[in-house]
């Protein structure tokens, strides 16, 4: 329901106001060419990418919170989103991004896969979640430093601006090509992340108990890490670094379920898709001179969610 509403809103609102009737007509392939161009070529890709990226980030956050048994986990704790961002920043910095529209996303995905290799090298054969978090922070910090370096050394203010813009995250002006880049990555990521629900449930009793319930945690970890690297890599590749969706969506949906990690997977996916698309509509409706960046809006949305959580916790104590 929410997703459908968000999708319609995403099609309906924009810099140029188009009446709902003209939007519907344009979708059917009729109506005037201006409406058709705006809706089909601009708003539909933007909506599809919003839904895909939101679903991926929401699911990745839910899976990582369950796997690491840490309610503050999100895709960036393993360094995947930062590394993807570094790949993209490198593309802008070295001027490769101008060569072709797919160069930047491809480098972003390569960046996130590279972070995965680094993560495995650092974490070694250990199965403990703390080792994973420490290794993830190391990767995350390193790639963050790389991004800062690129900003620091950027040859001219325009390149720096472009990098900054991209780091703030946005899904405006996305084309069908972007969908084709993100879609396969996100489908693979979602498929890999959805199968381990039971293992995540068992992990709420700790590593030993989970293994004694019949789960091979090394396989679980492998699927989760590859799923996050490919899926989040694909998402960041087309949207830039959009934070907080993966962090807050599981917290919003958890109280509505029985709180087992597997129960929040699908709701987080749907919630992520809806929240990101709504945030994107909000971006377009804000009466600012420049269009606000999506990452800025999601970060502001994150604050009240955590305030509510804090208050609820304190009343419990």
């Amino acid at each position: 329901m929410l997703v459908l509403l968000a999708a319609f809103a995403s099609l309906g609102f924009g810099a140029v106001s188009i009446a709902p009737g003209r939007v519907a007509a344009a979708l059917m392939g009729q109506g005037d060419w201006i409406a058709r161009t705006i809706v089909i070529d601009l708003r539909v890709p933007r909506m599809v990418i919003g839904l895909l990226v939101g679903a991926m980030l929401g699911l990745a956050g839910a899976v990582l919170q369950g796997y690491l048994r840490n309610p503050l986990a999100e895709p960036s704790v393993l360094g995947a989103s930062n590394a993807a961002a570094l790949g993209a920043v490198a593309a802008i910095y070295f001027g490769l991004a101008e060569a072709h529209v797919v160069v930047l996303p491809l480098l972003a995905i390569l960046g996130s896969l590279g972070s995965l290799l680094l993560l495995f090298a650092l974490a070694g054969r250990s199965e403990s979640s703390l080792t994973m978090i420490l290794a993830g922070i190391a990767v995350s910090t390193l790639t963050g430093a790389g991004i800062s370096l690129a900003l620091n050394l950027s040859p001219n203010p325009f390149a720096a601006m472009e990098i900054m813009n991209w780091l703030l995250g946005s899904i405006e002006n996305r084309s069908v090509e972007h969908i084709w880049i993100a879609l396969p990555c996100i489908v693979i990521g979602i498929a890999l992340l959805l199968v381990d629900g039971h293992a995540l449930d068992a992990l709420s009793l700790g590593d030993d108990a989970a293994r004694s319930l019949g789960f091979d945690l090394r396989l679980t970890r492998l699927r989760i890490l590859i799923g996050v690297a490919i899926g989040v890599g694909g998402a960041v590749a087309v949207s830039g670094a959009i934070g907080f969706i993966g962090l807050i969506v599981p917290h919003i949906v958890r109280p509505l379920t029985d709180r087992t990690p597997s129960a929040i997977l699908l709701p987080s996916m749907i919630g992520g898709a809806a929240l990101l698309t709504f945030a994107d509509v909000l971006v377009r409706l804000m009466p600012t001179t420049n269009e606000l960046k999506l990452g800025v809006v999601t970060a502001f949305l994150g604050v009240p969610v955590f305030l509510v959580h804090l208050l609820r916790e304190r009343r419990l104590w």
Partner: protein, 257 residues
Amino acid sequence: MVMVSIENLSVALGQRTVVQNVTAELRPGALIGVVGPNGAGKSTLVRAMLGLVPRSGGRVLLDGRDVAGLSPRDIARSIAYLPQGQILHWPLAVERLVALGRLPHLAPMSGMSAADRDVVADALARVDAGHLAGRIATELSGGERARVMLARALAVGAPGLVVDEPLASLDPGHQIDVMELLAREARGGAMVVAVLHDLTMAARYCDRVLLLDKGAIVADGTPAQVLDADRLSATYGISAMIDLNGAAPLVVPLRRI
């Protein structure tokens, strides 16, 4: 029915050998207690038995098949395990927590059947915790939580049960309840191994006691054969009042030697 044969098992954690050359046949039908001082290797022994820690020598056979070659799921369906100081990371309802015991029987991404739900309710009833079903497990008292965690292990419905310090944080009444439950399980044909610290409880309810010290089995037999004054002073470094022949066996530590 399930039977575990431990043959010359050794386990090293880091550089240290924690379990040395342990050999034992663990058969169903008798409650088996594993006792010994802190650091004797009791928990490591049972974890190695379940294939949860890599071994450095020897082998463990589960019904004649090497545990190292079995899938985790096969082991899980044969032996349920309650780790020491079981933790819970999310505030789940008690019923949901106990239901985690059914995971070894569920296909990936599927839910529980009505039969699974019956097993869960039955496990809760057996630890006298049926009334807690709707409570949040992280808000229970220590004793209630310990019983609910035991119910989680019982819900696996495996022919074998390994519990590591199931009596910790239980009051005397519930300690007796749990020991009677374990003895009943064993005499009903299950293979039950309990790591215990309370020697009186071990003497009173166990049919067989393994005494471990520095990773090796020092004695293996009935409580009366194993728990004598000399062994307790050599392993625990204590003197104790021991009366194993009365109707209610007693091992009461008196002082350090």
